[in-house]
């Protein structure tokens, strides 16, 4: 039974989730560009961010603060905590390995998945939690077309943050420093760029954007220590985008979000989870550098 409104509705849902994928993918690309490390643990970092937010907002709720105050206080606190997490990871796990082959670093990020998931389960228990959403669930109707206001606002916020970060990346001095470091670490150091500072900065940016993605995602799904799996499927976004291209990530996120939604529309819910990986495999075989990626980066 063909139902155009249903199709449109699902397409919109797909594009909305694409916005959040872009925000997640941004962190992966940032770290990859600056440090040449593919961060498999980005999803786990995102999950941690969501838990930070949960903690701060629960504390504030227990004081009986009004809603706007909760967001106003716990968002900056979450970002600070996530930034700290990023700095710690960079300082203690990545910096000792600077200048080495990226494989051990990738293994470390894989180890980090286990560490963060285990830590989250120990601190916040593995039970599913429902943090206070930034935007409460509301469904608006345009004719018979239903639009989820929560997803719409999350989408808008994600895209705004994405655009701000990517404009800063192109325009600001720090952005230039990150891009310079990405091209050649030792030369960047010789230009007076604090390379480890740049590494820290890129981890901080990745963790902060990741935590925002986690905050937006957690109420849509539920918050468990395995929320990071979503981050793993964002690999497909990053690969399709081209691994080191920020614009590529944005385009790829919409494509993947939409294709996922269509797969679930036409074949059933369970196909949604597998679609990103099929796409990954196809891209890797057909066009390894993705839509907008640098061509020569096929070496580990």
């Amino acid at each position: 039974m063909f139902d155009p409104i249903f199709l449109i509705e699902n397409s919109i849902t797909g594009l909305f989730s694409g916005g959040i994928y872009a925000l997640i993918g941004l962190g992966v690309v940032f770290i990859f560009r600056a440090t040449k490390v593919f961060n498999f643990a980005h999803g786990a970092v995102m999950m941690f961010g969501a838990y930070f937010y949960l903690t701060f907002s629960e504390i504030l709720i227990s004081f009986g603060s009004p809603n706007w105050l909760i967001f106003l206080i716990s968002l900056p606190l979450t970002f600070t905590a996530s930034a700290l997490l990023g700095m710690i990871i960079e300082k203690f796990l990545m910096r000792p390995m600077m200048g080495q082959h990226p494989f051990p670093l990738i293994m470390i990020t894989i180890g980090l998945i286990s560490v963060l998931e285990g830590a989250a389960a120990m601190i916040w228990t593995p039970a599913a939690q429902y943090p206070k959403p930034l935007f409460p669930l509301n469904i608006d109707f345009i004719g018979s077309l239903a639009i989820n206001r929560q997803m719409l606002f999350s989408f808008i916020l994600a895209i705004i943050i994405f655009l701000i970060i990517s404009i800063l990346f192109v325009r600001s001095r720090s952005g230039v420093a990150i891009r310079a470091t990405a091209t050649d670490q030792s030369t960047a150091a010789l230009m007076g760029i604090n390379v480890s500072g740049v590494f820290s900065l890129s981890w901080i940016i990745a963790c902060v954007t990741g935590s925002l993605a986690g905050i937006l995602l957690a109420p849509l799904n539920s918050l468990t220590p395995t929320l990071g799996i979503v981050g793993l499927s964002v690999i497909s976004v990053v690969i399709l985008g081209g691994l080191d291209s920020i614009i590529g990530v944005l385009i790829a996120a919409f494509i993947i979000g939409w294709v996922e939604s269509m797969a679930s529309h036409f074949f059933g819910g369970q196909y949604k989870e597998i679609v990103p990986y099929i796409i990954v495999l196809l891209i890797i075989i057909i066009k390894p550098h993705g839509l907008m990626g640098t061509r020569q980066i096929d070496r580990l």
């Binding site: 799904n221 539920s222 949604k272």
Partner: protein, 405 residues
């Protein structure tokens, strides 16, 4: 002399095979003395997706054991609880099972914690038989031929669906949707449910698979809106997803009536959801085989346990025990009954005799756990009742009689 010690690979294999033949198969099983206590071992999902249910269940189970022991245990002997975390991973449960079974005092009963485990343990049970119950209501287990040592302490998921479908039929429902999780547990009764609905003349307009946790609600709401059923059965969830789907449907101004199955019928979850997001669960109904704990008036067993907890914890005891814990306790009650029957019949307490006693349970008064007298058929108890949630007082109240299938 020199040749004798020349152990190359081939002779190593040969020798080890010979040694195996000589010892491994030849050692007679040691005849053990009657145990001093009944070891009842089980796995609990203390971590993983169902951790909330698992840890709550464990606490209440231990209290139940303490209470039972304080009143003389089973047939004069105390219960010794042995438990391990499984993280809801079947192979971990299996390792726990093997560990328990290779201990010096073997358990008389093993409580498994997932359908996956019940499946994995089946071949193992043929080798080291032990009475085995658990949290799974998988329809496949209700077959004494293929699963001789396993039992279900309630209706199978198929029976639960039967009860729900009868309820819908009696209310005159015509269009029905199945929403279920992408797990073994979720998919279990769907096929049966579809054919049963057909035979009752109910039209299943939608079968929607979701993730067991963290499902993207909007997509599912969209499909639900398209199908626009009068009733929707949510199955295969414990703590998550089902409240969000109902919430989403209400926000989308749908009037579909939602029904759940046992694991999605917990008051604690419903209360928390109501507190957080408003009273949209009003009218949510579902089937459960056990009375809620606040119906203690009709259930003497609950009353006893309530008194025990009150005396142990004082004011800290909130006065409510979750249905998850009730399920675990009831499983143990049945095991307890089987052991008592076996001992009273003066038979050796082993898996085979326990199963015989179990199968002989007919018209047993469960002390209020269940409304009708309990008869075990095909290692399952096919009865249940439909309850409906009221947000004003936070109680699930019965809207049907006890139904047997």
């Amino acid at each position: 002399m020199k040749k004798k010690f020349n152990l190359n690979r081939r002779s190593f294999l040969k020798n080890s095979a010979a040694l195996t033949g000589a010892f491994a198969f030849g050692v007679p099983s040691i005849i053990r003395a009657e145990p001093k206590s009944w070891v009842m071992a089980s796995s609990f999902p203390l971590t993983g997706p169902f951790a909330a249910a698992g840890s709550m269940g464990l606490k209440d189970y231990l209290d139940w054991v303490e209470m039972t022991n304080s009143t003389g245990g089973i047939a004069g002997k105390k219960i010794k609880p042995v438990y391990d975390d499984s993280a809801y991973v079947p192979s971990k449960s299996l390792a726990n099972f093997k560990k328990a079974m290779s201990a010096d005092d073997k358990p008389v009963f093993y409580g498994g914690d997932s359908t996956g485990f019940m499946k994995l343990v089946t071949p193992e049970l043929n080798r080291t038989p032990v009475l085995c119950g658990g949290t799974s209501f998988s329809s496949e287990l209700a077959d004494p031929k293929t699963h001789p040592y396993q039992f279900i302490s309630g209706p199978t998921y198929n029976s639960m669906f039967d009860i729900l479908l009868q309820h819908i039929k009696s209310k005159g429902g015509k269009k029905l949707a199945f929403i279920y999780s992408d797990t073994e547990f979720g998919k279990d009764p769907i096929e049966h449910g579809v054919s049963k609905a057909k035979s009752l003349g109910i039209d299943v307009v939608l079968k929607e698979i979701t993730k067991p946790a963290g499902a993207e609600i909007m997509t599912h709401i969209s499909s639900l809106r398209r199908a626009d059923p009068e009733y929707a059965i949510l199955h295969g969830y414990v703590t998550g997803v089902w409240p969000q789907i109902i919430g989403g449907a209400r926000k989308a101004k749908m009037s579909t009536k939602f029904l759940g199955t046992f694991w999605g019928m917990e008051k604690i979850i419903a209360d928390a959801v109501t507190k957080q997001s408003g009273p949209f669960l009003e009218g949510y109904a579902g089937v459960t085989p056990y009375r809620y704990f606040y119906e203690a008036k009709e259930a003497p067993s609950y009353g006893k346990f309530f008194a025990f907890l009150k005396s142990k914890y004082g004011d800290e005891f909130p006065g409510y025990v979750s249905t998850w814990s009730v399920q675990i306790m009831f499983t143990y009650e049945i095991a307890k009954l089987a052991i008592e029957k076996t001992v009273n019949a003066d038979k050796e307490v082993n898996a085979k005799n326990l199963v015989e006693s179990l199968e002989a349970i007919k018209n047993w008064d469960s002390g209020g756990y269940m409304g009708k007298p309990v008869s075990i058929e095909n290692h399952a108890i096919a009865q249940g009742r439909v309850y409906s949630y009221k947000t004003s007082n936070g109680l699930f109240l019965p809207i049907s009689d006890w139904i047997t299938t």
